[in-house]
């Protein structure tokens, strides 16, 4: 689905990256712990997180994650938004909790970028 579809499904606000709403996203990873994102997420996925600090954006940048969806209506600082703009990473913001976000997107066809952690016990971050 397109990033614009994700916005519509979740009644989300586009905080940055308006020009990238047409990018296609097929997978997602949801976590508040960036340690786990760095260990298990794959490039190109949507990062669903309640962590709205600069490290979430820098984690997404390190892994070539397509976009970040901030859930639970977490407050966003100017620093967070400015770094996202600088690193060219789209940010969506929704008041839905993570469970609702994942359920609604899965129902519409988005899948996990990994299904189980056993699947990632190789050395690739492809």
């Amino acid at each position: 689905m397109r990033l614009a579809d994700i916005r519509d499904i979740l009644n989300a606000k586009v905080i940055s990256g308006e020009e990238k709403l047409d990018i296609e996203i097929t997978t997602a990873f949801g976590a508040d712990l960036m340690s786990d994102v760095l260990a298990f997420a794959r490039s190109g996925c949507l990062l669903i997180t309640g962590l709205s600090n600069p490290q979430a954006v820098r984690t997404a940048y390190a892994l070539d994650i397509s976009a970040i969806l901030v859930c639970r209506g977490k407050a966003l600082t100017d620093k967070f938004v400015n770094i996202a703009r600088e690193l060219n990473i789209p940010i969506l913001w929704t008041q839905y909790i993570m469970f609702e976000v994942c359920g609604r997107l899965y129902q519409e066809g988005l899948i996990g970028c990994v299904r189980q952690i056993a699947d990632t016990e190789d050395k690739r971050i492809a």
Partner: protein
């Protein structure tokens, strides 16, 4: 051991500077993109340097990350002055952590960092002198998949 002629950059990191955690990793990634290195290799080096940077900020007084680009590999050397690691084998176990709340608020401290660096490295060396500091060397081959 990479030679000085392959030294691409030295990045200074201040301990407990949580606000800027990840800045060095982002800088290194930008620099590697300019060099035309493949995306898979850049992603690995970006994750390795991010984790190493967070470790220095979280646990050490100060440290440096040195980046070497050789014809066949990228080497990252993270050296710090700090308390060091008493039991390296234990520190490498996934889930083992001595992180405090300030580290966890940042989204880290799950005990995944060193294991993650090792997972994405083709060569991984970790040495430490308890009471003095830690030295981590990670090599990613340019042809690694």
């Amino acid at each position: 051991m990479p030679r000085d002629e392959h030294l691409e950059g030295i990045y200074y990191i201040q301990g407990r500077d949580f606000v800027d955690a990840g800045v060095v990793s982002s800088e290194i990634k930008k620099r590697l993109k300019d060099k035309g290195i493949t995306e898979d290799v850049i992603r690995k080096v970006a994750v390795i340097t991010f984790e190493a940077e967070v470790n220095i900020i979280s646990y050490a007084d100060q440290g440096t990350i040195q980046l070497f680009i050789e014809p066949d590999a990228i080497t990252v050397e993270a050296t710090d002055i700090g308390p060091g690691i008493d039991d390296i084998e234990l520190a490498l176990q996934e889930g083992y952590s001595t992180a405090d709340d300030s580290i966890r608020e940042m989204g880290f401290g799950a005990g995944m960092g060193l294991a993650n660096i090792k997972k994405f490295s083709d060569v991984f060396e970790l040495t430490s002198e308890p009471g003095n500091g830690t030295c981590l060397k990670s090599v990613v081959r340019l042809d690694s998949e």
